[in-house]
């Protein structure tokens, strides 16, 4: 890949005919895609700066078919790249060195919905919001709610251990996955965990969640569902500065309140949203907007809401709006949830960043990010899950401008280094993928990275499952199994995939 400008990957060599024949036998000829025009759809995920064409795309419909596909590719030593809806923001589903993309698009059935035990078993291609919609009839829902939830799949959620605004109170994907039927790299199908079991020696389910497709494919996913709260109340508090919005968050939590969500958008984001088709009625002179949501029994919400309102005003909010009906709440949320879509107004390209810092460091970190933006003459719009310190500084730019693109790369690295320096980490919910693997040494020692490579080898000794993702190429550059080969190290030396837009957590 080049470091700037549009990227057009060259066509990888076609698969040997015997492999194609095996794949067609496994899933049916219609579901093996080799036409270069059709392959283009799969060359990137929502972070379009990382691109690579697969040699083929295969769409199995069942665990058995997926196992046959994995087994066949393993037998021929061909890399396999699992892919959900392609809404990922870290390049995790990109075919870096050829190989075959296994799309879960046809594995889209809810296999079991068991309301009495508050659980469901789904195929990985089921979208996040479809599961919640199916569970709604029973007064249940699936709590992790990434902003891309109408599109993103549960398989992708498992791969990245996805979060969302409501994970402040409810926790991320890992808390909800109780069992997995996985297809390992060599095609072996293994059942891990299970809702009625407590006797596993090690929590391989927990380890598999967040493994970004490097261990295999989560072909059947068992999750717990949560009862849907009867009532919810959402507040929108408007502040002059990000700092005072941050202070309100601290005061709300200090008061012993545990909102379901605590989200902040900054002025640049408000401007973008209000200028877009998603205008949510946020005042454009506000320096920051804080969304606070409480849920529970309707009759018990009032006192929490009143307390939160008071804390917001004490911290400097000059207006606090309250929404109780679903329509009013949706309107308040719009400014937050559509923030990414709206940024298209600001510039043609966007880097969606993701990092977590200790919550008490948020004001300082935001001020320093502002400094980084000024230093590099860039425009950064901040959207973040304030309750858990998860930041999304988004840099808008024009990739046709090589100098600006370079400044974006530098700023992105400085932001990551800053977040790590204050005790944070390089990704809170989007994952490492290709986007952040070179930052991994910021948070892991060489010895720890070696253990992570070892764990990858335990699941995938031949290193064929989503190769080159998550783990940085080893320093020795030997490029053993499970590592990116040295010659494809870090996308030709360039920093994060610049460009693309999509949802986020």
């Amino acid at each position: 890949m080049n470091s700037a400008g549009p990227i057009s990957p060259s066509l990888p060599p076609p698969l040997p005919e015997e492999v194609l024949a095996d794949l067609r036998r496994a899933v049916g000829p219609r579901w093996v895609i080799t036409d270069p025009d059709h392959l283009l759809v799969y060359e990137a995920d929502a972070q379009t700066g990382h691109r690579g064409l697969p040699q083929a795309v295969v769409l199995p419909a069942s665990t058995q078919e997926a196992a046959a596909v994995f087994g066949c590719l393993h037998g021929h030593g061909i890399p396999v790249i699992p892919r959900g809806a392609g809404t990922g923001l870290a390049g995790g589903a990109v075919a870096l060195q050829g190989g075959v993309v296994v799309s879960t698009a046809r594995m889209n059935r809810i296999l079991e919905l068991d309301p009495d035990n508050r659980r469901a078993v789904v195929q990985p291609g089921v979208s996040n919001s479809r599961l919640s919609a199916a569970a709604a009839a029973f007064g249940l829902h699936y709590p992790p709610d990434p902003s891309s939830q109408t599109a993103c799949t549960l398989g992708g959620n498992v791969a990245t251990n996805a979060g969302g605004p409501h994970c402040l109170k409810y926790g991320v994907t890992g808390r909800y996955v109780t069992g997995l039927k996985v297809v390992l790299a060599d095609g072996e199908v293994m059942h891990l965990g299970g809702a009625g079991r407590e006797g596993s020696l090690f929590d391989f389910v927990g380890l598999f969640v967040g493994s970004e497709g490097c261990f295999g494919l989560a072909a059947e996913i068992e999750v717990v569902l949560a009862p849907t709260p009867e009532g919810a109340c959402t507040l929108l508090a408007l502040f002059d500065t990000l700092e005072s919005a941050g202070k309100a968050v601290t005061e709300i939590l200090k008061a012993g309140l545990l909102p379901a969500a605590l989200e902040i958008v900054d002025r640049n984001t408000i401007l973008a949203v209000e200028a877009s088709a998603y205008a949510a009625g946020y005042p454009t002179h506000a320096g920051a907007a804080l969304v606070v949501e409480f849920d529970g029994y309707p009759e018990g919400l009032e006192e929490e809401v009143v307390q939160a309102e008071e804390r917001c005003r004490a911290a400097g909010a000059w207006e606090v709006r309250r929404a109780r009906t679903p329509e009013e709440r949706a309107a308040l949320w719009k400014g937050r949830k559509k923030a990414f879509g709206a940024m298209g107004r600001l510039a043609p390209d966007l880097v969606v960043q993701d990092a977590t810092v200790p919550r008490s460091r948020l004001p300082e970190v935001l001020a320093r990010i502002d400094g980084i933006a000024r230093h590099h003459r860039l425009r950064i719009a901040n959207v973040f899950h304030a309750g858990d310190g998860n930041l999304h500084p988004n840099i808008v730019f024009d990739r046709r401008d090589a100098d600006e693109t370079r400044r974006v790369e530098e700023a992105a690295r400085e932001i990551m280094e800053l977040c790590v320096a204050v005790g944070g980490t390089i990704t809170g919910e989007h994952g490492v993928g290709l986007e952040k693997r070179e930052y991994m040494p910021l948070v892991f020692s060489p010895g720890e990275l070696e253990v992570l490579r070892g764990v990858k080898r335990v699941f995938d000794p031949a290193g064929l499952c989503n190769p080159g993702k998550v783990l940085p190429p080893s320093q020795e550059g030997r490029g053993g199994p499970g590592e990116g080969a040295p010659d494809e190290a870090v996308g030709g030396g360039r920093l994060p995939g610049l460009g693309g837009r999509g949802g986020e957590g």
Partner: protein, 457 residues
Amino acid sequence: MGDGSLAWEDAVERGDLRRILGGELSPEALRPPGESVRWGVAGRLPEAVVMPESVDEASRVLALAHRHGWRVHPAGRGTWLRGGGPRIPADVILSTARLQGIQDYEPADFVASVWGGTSLGDLSETLAPQNQWLPLDPPGGRRGSVGAMVALGVGGGLRHGFGGPKDLVLGLTVVAGDGRVLRWGGKVMKNVAGFDMTRLMVGSWGELGWVAAVTFRLFPSPAQDTTLLVSAPRAEDLLAAVRLAAALPVPLAAVELLDPFPWEPGPGEGGAALVLRFLGSPGQVRATESRLRNALPTARGPHVPQLRLLEGRESRELHGVLEDWEEGGELILRAALLPTRLGELLTEARRLARLPGGAEPPPRLALAAHAAQGVLRIRVNGLPEDPQGLGVWAQALGEWRSRLAQRGGSLTAMLGPERLFDSFSPWEPPGPEARLVEGVRRLLDPGAIFPRRRTGA
């Protein structure tokens, strides 16, 4: 090593073990031989009990142990040495008893990092003045160390409302079986950098490393702590109430079913009780109580459930008693099935008290369920002494395990007598996962110096 028989070369080396260790450690770290009496494992005293006062010391001990092939048993305060049924005596007990205290606590972050030997009680005393708490109530409660809790991975009733240790541990410092110091996770609420090694470590029973420090996610102390006791003669009479409580639109903090109910004064007519704990703002707690009071009488059963409300101190006192429920048990079993099958677990557990050819008088059983999760704990006392009587038990447990497995369930012995474990393994064999199990063990304990849970009789 690993088969329990000692080659004489090993014995010579072990004679030197204390001397070698002594050169590596501060004098206080190596406990005098007399003090090791309570640290026996598998019927034998260790050659040395080591209580390092730093991660570095622990790392050097484990590196040495790896080099010499000593068997090292990770421990906290020594209360769980029988757990998991280790068959092989330890050469060295490596305890976190001197690695205690708060490492880092910023109340505004709702995150605390503590050394592995810190007791949960000490931790909660540090948090309380800041109006914060760690919602975990593992067996043994406040006395146990956080390191042991993480190693066992077991929570208590609060797992219903807050998840267990896996969900509240944000980061770990562990020392691997060859002395490598590894830090997993971090000090932030959300972290998906790299594979989730923290989850792998929690509940690994010390097989993959010695837990030196733990970072927890904290919560605001609930403004109100209220418990509703629902009583009936037998646990079975309360299953309808369990289903109702588990289906409430706002999850309770805990849904625990006890038979017999272990607390005086009891809820009313004695026998069994369902303990429903709700925490939170006064408004939500009032709303929960009124929902329960309206709904519970509709939970049909042969007996009208009796209700009693405990608040504040009384509620906390009860939960303290429940944390000690496993104390004094000869055998502690955990059986699990899907929550709707809790009734089957109760019926099948009760059969253990009346095994054909079993002992007279029959062993005494007490039952405690994490009812909304379908997990039943069984505390057994008065197990038969004679091999034949014990054999009947081992066989019955083995058969029950198979029947549970057929229904997707499991049976594990957390604690029990060696003589039983010779014919009933406390853990079930890993099955197809075996290759993963062996893989991670080799990676993190390459010399196999840590004890491994028994998975085959």
